[in-house]
């Protein structure tokens, strides 16, 4: 890996950071510096003005029980030299106030609002309101503080639901938390489009309809249980989350994963990308009214799902990762089958793309719509095909190589047109690229074990795990605990990309608004749970929607 000090461009930055703080730690993939509260804005200013520095994530952590203060971790990425700069700011335990940097680093906006909402950090220079938590959440209860366990929080909040059920005089109500959604939408989301005639002149997004509090939940789970929870963050690309989590723990605890396991992880990650991109393409074509394309691309995708099931035991690539490796191996027979199926997918997909992309309505509605200028994409530190469609070659596989990507040469797919067509072409091209990558990995699959024999947790170690998900960079930050993660911070790509949607919606025709929103491939929360409320007994029970669905099906028989 390239050394930071050999790159002249970042040498000055490196010296500056070491000068401003005499407390720094240099690790293999990152430099951690502790900065005083008052110097944060100055550091942020310098970092934001340095070309090629992106804000990757921010994590707030309650470390009062460890060292007597709260701490903010600002993770900036220097993509070109594959390094992170982690700026740590300790905050007073009694009055955790820190200056806001959202006016300097645009991408910090949501992170600050979330840290305020969930952990009670105050940001001087801006007034913050509820962001993630519901409006009726009790005042001064910050769920990510260590003052509360998951059980405490359940007791604190759920009685409100019963009161509401009583309000509507429900004797035994089944409440499905729908939120402000429309039956035609696939997930809970709320967009306000300001329209003049057929032109969208402005847009506002309100999210976090279903916040599941998984970061808190992980604090009460064992290290090896968390990958199964992490996978459930996304119903489409869950494997990226378990990989990202495992990598964060492995980095923090310096666990060396066997090379074969790294290859297996990379193979499954690319298979997940293929199925996710094909899924997206189908949805996009459906939104453009080209349902024949939608049906055919999903037919092709079905082969990928079967492939995923063969390799992982699950169509949804779940349950494969453990800290230190993977749980299932790939034998020679599976390798041969994979190559055969991938060749067939490549051939069919090529024919399909030639037809679908020549449909006049598809071309005319993708080209020139949903413009996202390069400078806006850079200032918001966007990720994935969204940023690559605006001419910026950001890709974790190349910028922060992990798993088997460090053993190969990799060039991200980039388009410079900045429109919906550019983002579509990036994804289409990436399907072919992923097929080639999987074949390459299968060909070079090394021998050896698939997991480390054993490992020991060590508390208060810091680790970053990042994976290039189909939608862009997924980044997990971990502070280890003795038996469970002490603090686990998850940042999915949609979190980073959503603030760009209002920019993309400016001046589009109303008819092109759905495809423009879809062009970032948004993934909101997908796994709602229904609540059964028994007013008489004041009892609230979680019921998976699938159980309700089966009950409904039985009634029909």
């Amino acid at each position: 890996m390239e050394s930071l000090s050999t790159d002249n461009e970042f040498e000055n930055l490196y010296s500056y950071l070491k000068k401003i703080s005499n407390r720094f730690v240099e690790e293999e993939d990152h430099l951690r510096i502790v900065v005083e509260n008052e110097k944060l804005r100055e550091v942020a200013e310098v970092l934001s003005k340095t070309e090629g520095v992106f804000l990757r994530t921010i994590a707030a952590s309650d470390e009062r029980s460890v060292n007597g203060f709260y701490k903010m971790y600002y993770v900036f990425g220097l993509d070109r030299i594959h390094r992170n700069i982690v700026v740590e700011v300790p905050l007073d335990a009694e009055n955790p106030v820190i200056p806001s940097i959202a006016d300097i680093v645009k991408a910090a906006d949501w992170y600050e609002r979330e840290a305020h909402d969930l952990i009670g950090i105050k940001f001087s220079g801006r007034i913050l309101h509820r962001f993630v938590l519901p409006d009726d959440w009790p005042e001064n209860v910050y769920p990510l503080r260590k003052d509360y366990t998951v059980q405490d929080l359940v007791k604190l909040y759920r009685p409100e639901i019963i009161a509401k059920a009583r309000e509507v005089e429900a004797e035994a109500a089944i409440i499905i938390p729908i939120g402000p959604y429309h039956p035609a939408l696939h997930e809970p989301e709320y967009f306000e489009l300001y329209v003049r005639g057929e032109k969208v002149v402005g847009a506002r997004y309100v999210g976090f309809m279903v916040h599941r509090g998984i970061e808190k939940l992980a604090e009460s789970m064992k290290y090896d249980q968390v990958p199964f929870l992490a996978e459930r963050i996304c119903g489409i690309c869950g494997y990226v989350h378990s990989t990202s989590y495992c990598q964060a723990v492995e980095k923090a605890l310096k666990i060396h994963v066997p090379e074969r396991a790294e290859y297996i992880r990379s193979i499954v990650l690319e298979i997940e990308r293929i199925h996710s991109h094909l899924l997206w393409l189908g949805v996009a074509l459906h939104l453009l009214g080209y349902d024949t394309g939608f049906m055919h691309v999903w037919r092709i995708r079905e082969q990928v799902m079967i492939l995923a099931e063969m390799l992982t035991g699950s169509r949804k690539t779940y349950g494969l990762n453990i800290v230190g490796g993977v749980r299932r191996d790939i034998d020679r027979d599976k390798v041969n089958k994979c190559v055969k199926v991938l060749d067939s997918i490549a051939k069919e997909f090529k024919e399909f793309v030639e037809i679908a992309m020549s449909v006049p309505q598809v071309k005319s509605r993708l080209r020139g719509t949903g413009l996202l200028p390069r400078n806006e994409a850079a200032s918001l530190s966007l990720v994935g095909p969204t940023v690559r469609g605006s001419g910026i070659p950001r890709d974790v596989r190349r910028d922060y190589p992990y798993a088997a990507y460090k053993y190969i040469d990799f060039k991200p797919v980039v388009r410079t047109e900045c429109d919906n067509m550019a983002r579509t072409e990036v994804r289409v091209e990436e399907v072919f690229q992923s097929i080639e990558l999987v074949k390459n990995f299968l060909d070079r699959l090394p021998g050896g074990g698939i997991a480390v024999d054993s490992w020991e947790p060590e508390p208060y170690r810091f680790g970053i795990g990042a994976v290039e998900a189909p939608r862009g960079e997924v980044i997990h930050v971990i502070v280890t605990g003795r038996y469970s993660p002490y603090r686990w911070r998850v940042r999915a790509p949609t979190y980073q990309n959503l603030p760009a949607v209002p920019i993309m919606l400016r001046d589009v025709d109303l008819a092109d608004a759905p495809i423009t929103i879809a062009s970032i491939d948004p993934c909101f929360s997908c796994t709602d749970r229904a609540l059964i409320i028994n007013i008489e007994k004041s009892d609230v029970r979680d019921v998976p929607l699938v159980a309700l669905s089966l009950k409904g099906s039985r009634l029909l028989r």
Partner: protein, 300 residues
Amino acid sequence: MNLSTLISIPISILLYIFLPPLLDGVERKVKADIQSRIGPPTILQTWYDILKLISKEVVLSMNPRYVVLTLSLSLTMLISLAVTISYSISLLNLDMYIVITVLILLLAIHSLYLTLYIFSSNPFSIVGTFRIATIDILNEAGLVAFAILTAVSISISRASPRDYLLIAIALTALAIAVYVSQRRLPYDLHEAEPELASGAIIEFSGAVLGFYIYSHLLERYILASIPMIFVAYLMSSTLYLNPVIAMLLIHILASSIYLLYAVISALIGRSRVNLAVKTINFIYFLAIAIWLGVYILWNP
């Protein structure tokens, strides 16, 4: 009026009444085949759907007077249209008055549909209503123009190659106008983008939706058969067909055109209102220019 004509009129009317949902069932199967799906279990599925919807309770979210009045009026007018066309094709008579009556009835039916959409209780459906009004105004001018142009081409025809070419140009343009009138992809803009606005139909359920679907399918089939009136007239002057055979042939041709439209609509995506206006304008002006060019420059 001879016996054959007397028989062919009621048969034609019955075909108009029963064929459209059946053709829709065939369309669904054909589309499913194109899209690698199985589709509905039988081609009678649309009939079953309509009958089931009609048997359900009436729930109205808007002023009933606008729904019941407009739907019943448009259905009555559609059946009158079916009768008029059946009468015309059975007599193999292309009277200009019949052409004008058919066109006026069609425009009136579209106006009634617009009334139905405008008075929807869904405030967002106004977006879809304005879209379809824009397309309708533009397309109906084309529909009328090309129907008259076809009639004129036939009436001035002296069976020369130039005259056949003029008829072919006018008929092709008329077939395109009919396609747009059927509100198929890429011009199904009144119910597009259900995530944002959608149209008035989203508010319909039960019997009202059943009657709406039926009248919409009936209208589609009647529209598909309009070019056939002209084809019938042309055939009558050359082949001297028996009225019953001619009428059956016309229904077969109308059904074929209907299914051809279905296949075309399965192969394309949805347009946008400003794009649709540009495309329709371009095609119609081009058709008129070609027709005039051939008429003026080619002297037989």
